[in-house]
């Protein structure tokens, strides 16, 4: 194999898209201010506004969250939805082309003049996966966003929070399908069943080809009628010290789930759902 690729030394066969982490996660919501408050309690701060749309950029440490009020009401009532994940890749155009060539569905582009064309493909449910390659030398937000005056664009993270992963709810007997989707189109690797993180270890876990983050696929409980559909259900933040992070977030007004089955531990914690379904998981991770 190596000999066959001697002219393409930049292509890492185990990471064909050159994925290097998550650039941003996008939520859509008809109530952006309410979601903004939730994000601020989690340690994010609004740092910029989109030039042409009702979109705000929130930041904390290395994490960016985009809150989009532009796309109209989300599919399921009022609850905010995770609408997209943008991956950092080596070459966004090449990554997009490769995924489309392998069967991904291109997302139609709707950009205004002077805005960036961020290529994307359809993911679970109504969600999208975007590819971003301009994150080293300058940021995509310099083009599409206007900084909010007086706000420092650098935001310190609360207790070292950083991206850990994304939890996707899948249909019954659909784990194998989605594993094939993420492994063959994006180069993810399915972890063995004994390798689990946090306090909600159900389902299948896939590691990103860069090793920087994880996807967890969860099917409905057997015999439970669940017609809520497939979707990106929550994000998880890594925390070097979960109890310390929980303490810091509690001081900011965040509630955590504390029941006999599910509660804060050294390996993880889960916030109580806000706004009809927005929750965040904490996972012990350096």
């Amino acid at each position: 194999m190596t000999a066959l690729l001697e002219r393409e030394s930049r292509v890492d066969v185990s990471n064909p898209l050159g994925i290097e982490g998550i650039e941003f996660v996008e939520y859509t919501t008809p109530r952006p201010q309410a979601l903004g408050q939730v994000l601020e309690s989690m340690g994010f701060r609004p740092v910029a506004r989109h030039r042409s749309r009702e979109v705000l950029l929130f930041r904390q440490g290395s994490m960016n969250i985009v809150v989009n009020a532009h796309g109209g009401a989300p599919a399921q009532g009022e609850a905010p939805q995770i609408a997209a994940v943008a991956l950092r890749v080596r070459d966004a155009g090449a990554a997009w082309q490769r995924v489309v060539d392998l069967g991904g569905w291109p997302v139609p582009v709707k950009v205004q003049p002077m805005e960036l064309h961020i290529p994307g493909v359809h993911g679970a449910g109504a969600s999208r996966i975007y590819f971003v390659d301009r994150w080293r030398e300058f940021s995509i937000y310099d083009v599409d966003f206007v900084p909010i005056p007086t706000v420092d664009p650098k935001v310190a993270s609360v207790a070292g929070l950083h991206w850990f992963g994304i939890v996707q709810y899948v249909g019954s007997d659909r784990s194998a399908d989605w594993c094939a989707f993420y492994t063959s189109l994006f180069g993810f690797t399915l972890l063995p069943a004994e390798q689990r993180f946090g306090i909600l270890p159900k389902g299948s876990v896939l590691a990103s080809p860069c090793g920087g983050f994880y996807l967890q696929l969860i099917e409905p409980e057997a015999l439970v009628v669940d017609d809520t559909g497939e979707r990106l259900q929550r994000v998880a933040f890594g925390a070097p010290d979960v109890p310390a992070a929980v303490k810091a977030l509690r001081a900011r007004g965040v509630d955590f789930v504390e029941t006999s089955e599910l509660h804060t531990e050294a390996r993880g914690a889960l916030t109580r759902p806000a706004l009809g379904g927005v929750m965040f998981e904490l996972v012990h991770h350096g």
Binding site: L102, G103, W105, H122, A124, G171, D177, A180, S184, E230
Partner: protein, 300 residues
Amino acid sequence: MRSAEYIADFGMDTISLAGPLAAKLRAIEDAGFSQVMLAARDLVGHPEGWRAAVAEVKSSSLRVTGFQVLRDFEGLSDHLHDYKVDIARSMIEMCAALGSPVLLACSSTSRHASNDEAVIARDLRKLAMMALPYGIKVAFEGLSWGRHINDLVGAWRVVERADAPNLGVGVDSFHSFATRTPTEVLQDVDPEKIFLVQLADFMWQEIRTVEERIETARHFRVFPGEGVHSDELRGLVIELDRMGYRGDYSFEVFNDDYTQIPLPVVCERARRSAAWLAEDVLHRAVPLPDGTRLRMSTAR
């Protein structure tokens, strides 16, 4: 509507019937069937558009067995491939709107298609990945007049090679009998990867030429038990059942005569065929004369 739970695994295909979609659905329901195989033509040919057709299907009591048929997808290159990808996307969107669990794709007849099985497998895997976000399984069927893949053996070989969880084979008894594919070849196929079984009988003992196969397949099929291949059909269904196939059986009966006689008459023939397979071949429980079974199933 006659309740007929014991024939629940068997369904009709709209291609056996003439007339508008609503009339076909009603006739199939009235004969006691609970499922229907739909063709893209049923949707796009609807006078009020394909979304109206989807709404008609959804308002019926029938569930959708599958959606057909994507032709000549695999083995093409460059602009021909891109063109077929667009066609496939349209088919997948309609299939998804219907809530159909299966999209039927049949092997290419195109002389522009490559015979390289690595290419065929790669394209089928791509098709499966395209269908995947919608929760659709792709059943790949070897047409008996396919250019490179023309039987179940070949179809299974490339499906195994493509190795996608939502890609499997479709078994069509007509093509198996036409190519004289022995039932034993099923033993090499993983029953979990048989995503659709289509059954049909026909009136001639043998069909030798490809032209004759196409002609027979498209105009002269009959329902299982109505032709001269009943014993082979019995053997096929028993073997599928024995190996653990628990999916649907759809009657893939193209017949010019059936499209010019009243729908209830055709549906009654289909019902008799389903009853023969359920009772005599698979020995399924039959409704009791006092209607106990009927009340039970209505109560569900």
